[in-house]
Each structure stands twice: as structure tokens, then as C-alpha cells.
């Protein structure tokens, strides 16, 4: 495991240095749902070509942050720019122009279950381009080959396993040759082998097609395998940003607790320990 990740590290760091421009910039992002503050002043920058991982516990706001980056959720304050365009106040067709340059892989795959695998993958091409259907046919075959699912074109999503759905979702996300792919919990709910296949795929896509990847996950094994840089999110704030090595060597107890998956530490899941007995006796 270790060897692979260091190998990838060296390979990818050179790539990052080659193209050092910022493709996503998040500034002082604040988002509240009712009284609950989900994001509390998040600042981040993602560079072209890198694989950027946002990790943190369940409910720390990482999926919400991801949805801000693609403009699906609007912040209470702060700014988001995507591929050089400030998307904070963009709606409708203006936002769609930017969205055509990105791809998103959803936690639940979000395949359209009334459509076949072919129709799912070809949908953005049929909707947004003037390409002839014979050309689209070939493109879909190429995309499915990349995710290792060629020959499954005629199946419906209900006939696929969880890992296969994820890969079809990925093929659909890369249909338009996006500059950035966003992954929401790509390995959640998959068995370890399928999870490694997905990790390998994320690495392949980012390396082969030099696509920028932004991954939200709490799967540490996956983080070690794919990340160029990691941001640790806790209670709506970024605790630390750094390479995998830097995060591993972090002095922050919270980061260490998360990496090691310790039960005991500064991150508490049982906050009101002391008044438990009193509450029972009320």
C-alpha cells in the first residue's frame, strides 16, 4: 500500500508543478441550514491536474462544500470560483456553461433508472453537442472501455451491481471530456476490492487524461492511495491542508485521531456525558 502511494506521489507531483494554476478557489464560505452552521469560513484552492481530497467525519459539511463548488448550493456568504469564473451568483444557462466543463460522480451513482447504460452515458453528448449518433456510439464505447464496462451498453441500471453503477456514473461524468471531476464518497458502501478498483480508476483518469479531481471521502485507505493534497474538514472549518505525508505527520491531535480512527480523542461524539443520569431521573 505504502509503496504504491509514494510511487504515485512522485509521479503526480511533477505533473502538478508543471501546471500550477488554480482551477477552484473557495473564499470565506459560510453556509447555514436554519440555525445550524454547516460551513463556517472555508478557504481552499485546488490546482490544475492535482487530486485534491476533502476528508472529515460524517456531517462535517464535506458534501455541502462539494455542492458549493459545482454551484448546486449557494452560500450565505463567501465566494466560489470554478475554472476562473465566479459562480457564486450564477444561475441557469450561465452556470450551465461552466458545468459543461465539469463532471460529477455521485455517492448513489444517480444513474437515470429509466435509461439504459448507453443512454445514461450518451445523454450529455446528445443534449449538448451536434455530434452524429455514429460518433456518439464510438465515444460511449471508448468511455465504457476506460471504466472497464464495454459490452454493458444495453443493460438497465437495476441490472448492475453497486460498483458497476459507480463506474457507469463515472463514464457519464467523463462523457464531455471535463476539466475537473468531482467525486462524492466514491468508495462508500463498496467492498474493499471494488473500492480499490474505483481508487485505481480515479488515479488512471487523473493521470491519463490529466483531469483535476476533487474527492470527498472518509475512507482513509482511499485517501492514502489517491491524494496529492488533502484538506481535513472539521465542524465547518478546514483544520489543515497538505500532502498525504504532511497530514500523516500532523501535530494536530484531531487530525491524528481521524487518521487512526481512534475512539478517544479531542473529537467527541458523546458531548453530554455528565448529565445522562440526571436526564434519566427527570
Amino acid at each position: 500500500m505504502m509503496d504504491i502511494s509514494t510511487d504515485d506521489q512522485t509521479g503526480k507531483i511533477t505533473k502538478v508543478i508543471m501546471k500550477n494554476d488554480t482551477v477552484i478557489e473557495v473564499k470565506d464560505l459560510v453556509k447555514k441550514f436554519g440555525d445550524r452552521t454547516v460551513l463556517n469560513g472555508v478557504n481552499l484552492e485546488v490546482k490544475r491536474g492535482e487530486t485534491f481530497v476533502i476528508m472529515g467525519g460524517s456531517g462535517c459539511g464535506k458534501s455541502t462544500l462539494l455542492r458549493h463548488m459545482i454551484g448546486n448550493i449557494k452560500p450565505n456568504s463567501g465566494r466560489v470560483s470554478l475554472l476562473g469564473e465566479d459562480i457564486t451568483d450564477l444561475y441557469g444557462s450561465d452556470l450551465d456553461t461552466v458545468r459543461k466543463k465539469i463532471g460529477m460522480s455521485f455517492q448513489s451513482s444517480a444513474l437515470f433508472d429509466s435509461m439504459t447504460v448507453f443512454e445514461n452515458v450518451s445523454l450529455p453528448l446528445r443534449e449538448h453537442t451536434k455530434l452524429e449518433s455514429s460518433v456518439i456510439d464510438i465515444m460511449v464505447k471508448m468511455k465504457l472501455e476506460l471504466v472497464g464496462l464495454r459490452g454493458f451498453e444495453r443493460l438497465m441500471p437495476s441490472e448492475l451491481s453497486g460498483g458497476m453503477k459507480k463506474r457507469v456514473g463515472l463514464a457519464r461524468a467523463i462523457a464531455m471530456d471535463p476539466e475537473i471531476i468531482f467525486y462524492d464518497e466514491p468508495t462508500a458502501g463498496l467492498d474493499p476490492i471494488v473500492a480499490s478498483i474505483i481508487d485505481k480508476l480515479i488515479i488512471d483518469l487523473s493521470k491519463k487524461l490529466s483531469i483535476t479531481s476533487v474527492v470527498v471521502t472518509h475512507d482513509m485507505k482511499s485517501v492514502m492511495a489517491i491524494a496529492d493534497r488533502v484538506a481535513m474538514l472539521y465542524e465547518g472549518k478546514v483544520l489543515q491542508v497538505g500532502t498525504v505525508e504532511e497530514i500523516k505527520g500532523s501535530k494536530s491531535e484531531m487530525v491524528q485521531q481521524f487518521i487512526n480512527g481512534d475512539y478517544d480523542g479531542p473529537i467527541r461524539f458523546f458531548q453530554q456525558k455528565d448529565d445522562y443520569l440526571e436526564k434519566l431521573m427527570q
Partner: protein, 100 residues
């Protein structure tokens, strides 16, 4: 995007200028649909002035190759930049095309 046609010793050379991407691919496809009608043609497509080919461009070139084969002609790709060449390698299309 621009394509120039040139004939020399019975070989048609097409020089493509500009990226072959999702916006220009439909035009490239149309151009070759009208340009290639005769049987037994031998063509070379020069990608010297092409910086980037996306997957719709690759698919379009596959379509052109299919057309040439049904016309029992021959097709070569020439002057690929390193970057474009690697795009063919990733998609395993370097094994399909005659790249010189």
C-alpha cells in the same frame, strides 16, 4: 478549425489546423463525408497543426477510417505531436490507426 486538401502522386493529403474537439468535430465529420466519395483513395491526415484532440475528435477520426475502409481505401495519420500521440495511446487507438 480549418482543413486544406492537397493531391500528390495519387495521395490525398488533408492538413487539419486547430483543435478537433466537441465544437469542431461535427464539422470535421461533415467535411470528410463530402470529401471522401471515390473508391480506392489513399489519404493522409496531417495533424501537425493540431494541439489537442478530445474524445469526440478521436471518435470522428475512427468514423473517417471506417468510411475509408468501406471505400476500400487507405488512411494514414501523420505529424502527431507527443501530446496528441499519447491521447491515441491512452484510448488504445494507436493500434487501430496507421500512424506515421
Amino acid at each position: 478549425m480549418e482543413i486544406n486538401k492537397e493531391e500528390k502522386n495519387g495521395i490525398l493529403t488533408f492538413r487539419v489546423k486547430g483543435d478537433i474537439d466537441i465544437t469542431s468535430s461535427p464539422d470535421v465529420k461533415k467535411y470528410f463525408d463530402t470529401a471522401l466519395t471515390d473508391k480506392n483513395t489513399r489519404i493522409v491526415i496531417s495533424l501537425k497543426e493540431v494541439e489537442y484532440v478530445d474524445s469526440s475528435g478521436l471518435a470522428t477520426l475512427v468514423e473517417v477510417l471506417k468510411r475509408i475502409r468501406t471505400l476500400s481505401g487507405q488512411m494514414k495519420l501523420s505529424d502527431l505531436s507527443e501530446k496528441v500521440k499519447s491521447l491515441f495511446e491512452i484510448t488504445k487507438l494507436d493500434r487501430l490507426f496507421d500512424i506515421v
